[in-house]
Every structure is written in structure tokens, then in C-alpha cells.
Amino acid sequence: MSNIAGKAYAMNVITPIPWWKAIWQHAAFKFVVRFPSNLKGLINLSLIHYARWTIIGRNSFPHLAPSQPKEDLHYSYMMFESNFNGSWDQYIDSFSFAIPEGLDLFWRFNIGYPKSIPLHGFYNYIRFNQIETDHFYNAYPCASSNDVKSATHLYDNLKDFTETSLELSDEDFEQAYNALLLDNQQYLGCMEAGPSLSLKEY
């Protein structure tokens, strides 16, 4: 069992939400999509590969055969799935410090949600409602989300560069190459396995 694959952590959280409040939660998400400046904080944190929120109506749990008993639930549920970089603690800390209002927007209608400040109430809420991952696959364990993004920029810029500069004189090529380095200096961090995120040995 592992929530970790290289530099990525797989978090699964499922929380109850009264069915009649789920409508408002849907509206809150629609609001965020309509006005994406609300995601500025999340984007700036730059810790996430992909994250999704899915509201499961209380009558919407898949029912595939008569032999399977139908669910009979008081609440609807919200499932949160995130693939992020850093340890669990580091992730929750960063979110709580940087975008407390944003977090509250995403969870405010969920039962028992304590707000993201003070910190340990939020910590405990997420931990309490978290489910361990049994199998986690990451296409690039040695790359964080930042690494993937910077690689994409660098790759595009290198392709452009090679199209325009190979026929230059040596001196002109050197100038163009130096300009390339300057334009891409923020993409030149090296990659290897990331710092240990696992508490297994502790």
C-alpha cells in the first residue's frame, strides 16, 4: 500500500454533504470555474499535478445488478482526489497557510468541516476522512509538477532554437545560444529522485 510514487502523493478524501447543500457546493464550484482568478492561489502553489472534486449524489452510487443491495444514505458525498508534490504535512500546511479562504470555499458545505484555520482542526478533518491508496502509478516519479511544466517550456524553446540557429556562424550561434540560456535559465534545474516522503521507516 502506498500513497507515494516518487515525487507525488495520492490523496483520497471522502466527506458527507447534506443532499440539499450539495446544490450550493455545485454552485460554488461553478463559480470558481466561471471566475478562475479564484484559482490563482492554487496555481501559484504549483504543487499539484491534477486534482478533482466529485460530488456523488446519495442515490448515485453505481448499482449494477439486482443482487447488489441499493444504497440508502442520508447524505451525499464529495470525493476529493489529488496528486501533489511534497509530504502530506507539507501539502496541508502550504494550503492552509496560503489559501485558507479557497479551501473553505471547496469544503464549506461538507458536514463537520471546521474551516482551514486554525490548522489542526483542518489537519484532523482531512486525516479523518482520508482513504489509503492501494496502488498508485505516476508516469514520472522523478518529476514534480513544476518539473513537467518547465520541461515543456524548455522543450518548445529548444525546438524553436534549433530551427533558426544551426546555420549561423560560430560566433552568431554562440550569441543565440547565450540568449537561449538567458531565456530559459529558470528551467534548468536538474532532476533526480525526490526527498523521502514516506514515514514507513519512522
Binding site: A51, I56, F136, Y137, V148, D170, F173, Y187, C190
Partner: protein, 215 residues
């Protein structure tokens, strides 16, 4: 369409697991009388990882996971009602590039044995005997994403891996060229291009799920 962000697709499928114990007489089962969910968990936790994971050869998987939803959590205290799920669910969450049907088809075609081993414990899976059936089955278990946050990009995985490979190689190349003459630099850059084959997305490149960065 909330399941997608550009060309990136987010799949969440909850596949109900058969209640009760496995059939004694089936030699596939490790121990007679195991419950289906325990068996699935055992299989999931034993799946090979990283480059050997079934998702490594499922085209265009960014990040994917499998876990079991045992039950929902009671939020404790007198103010809340208690819910209890009547079945356990195999949760299959995947973030990948492209469309759902080709993705699931690739998962089935490249990993049929493992897919059957895992999903045979799920309700109504006996109706699945080919890729099309598998696509239909997963769609029947699919939930619609409400909000998809893409913190990365929506490129094909092969392009992402190639870009990572090029970044790794180039970030090392620039370190070796400091102080070289213009002629040496240009020549070295040409060798570099030959080595990395910028326009060949397939090779050389990082392999899906590789855990070490090799020179």
C-alpha cells in the same frame, strides 16, 4: 465538460465489489473463504509498481490509482446521522490524456489478465469478455467530475516524457559547455541534437514510470 481539462481526462469510477466470501472451489483464490474485498486489496497491493505497473503500458496515463472504499465515515457526535454503505467499492481514478474509450481499451488490451484478476470480484463483471464490454462496464460505474483542477498540462504523456528527458539532458549539457569556444560549442550542440533526437517523441526518452534518472 467537467471530466476534462483541455485534452486531459479525469476518470472516477466506483465499481461495487461483490459482498460475501469467495467460492471455495475456485483455485484462483488464495484462501478459501476470503471476502471479495480483502482479495481485491491483496491483489492491488501486490501489483507491480512504477515501470511494471499495468498503467505504465496503458497509453497516456499521467497518474492513476486504485483503492477500496470500505465505508463512508461517520463524522461523530450527536449532530450527525450515521450512514453505512451496503457494498464496498473498488475506486478507479485516473488522469490521462485523450478520450475515455481508447484509454480503457488500451488498459484492457495491454493488461487483460490483470484487469480480470482485479475486477472479477466486482458486481456484474462476468458480463465483461472483451474491450468493448470493459468500456461499457467502467462507464456504468463512472461518476461525473464536478471540478477538475489541472495544475500541469494536457499534453500526451509521450510528449511530457520526451520533454522531461530533453530537460534532463540539456540541463546537464549546458554545464559541460561553460567556457568552451564558439566552434566547440556549436559542434557539441550538434552532437547533443544527434543524441537526444528532439523531434522523435518516442525515443530516446524517459520510460513511463521510471524511478531513476539515467545519464
Amino acid at each position: 465538460m467537467a471530466n476534462t481539462s483541455g485534452n486531459a481526462y479525469g476518470l472516477t469510477a466506483l465499481c461495487p465489489i461483490i459482498n460475501g466470501h469467495t467460492n471455495d472451489s475456485n483455485p484462483l483464490y488464495k484462501a478459501a473463504g476470503e471476502s471479495h474485498d480483502k482479495e481485491v486489496r491483496r491483489i492491488l497491493q501486490a501489483l507491480p509498481l512504477n515501470q511494471e505497473s499495468p498503467f505504465a503500458n496503458t497509453d497516456n496515463t499521467y497518474l492513476a490509482r486504485l483503492f477500496i472504499l470500505n465505508d463512508v465515515f461517520f463524522q461523530q457526535g450527536n449532530d450527525f446521522k450515521r450512514d453505512q454503505l451496503k457494498s464496498k467499492y473498488l475506486c478507479f481514478n485516473s488522469n490521462f490524456h485523450g478520450e475515455l474509450e481508447p484509454y480503457l481499451t488500451s488498459l484492457w488490451n495491454n493488461n487483460e489478465n490483470q484487469v480480470r484478476e482485479i475486477w472479477q470480484h466486482c458486481v456484474a463483471f462476468e458480463s465483461v469478455s472483451n474491450a468493448n464490454d470493459f468500456v461499457r462496464y467502467i462507464k456504468s460505474c463512472q461518476l461525473t467530475t464536478t471540478l477538475f483542477f489541472n495544475g500541469s498540462n494536457d499534453q500526451p504523456v509521450a510528449e511530457q516524457l520526451k520533454a522531461l528527458y530533453v530537460k534532463q539532458m540539456f540541463s546537464e549539457f549546458v554545464l559541460t559547455q561553460q567556457g568552451k569556444s564558439a566552434a566547440e560549442l556549436k559542434q557539441a550542440f550538434k552532437y547533443f541534437l544527434q543524441r537526444v533526437q528532439l523531434n522523435d517523441v518516442k525515443s530516446p526518452s524517459w520510460k513511463p514510470g521510471q524511478t531513476e534518472v539515467t545519464l
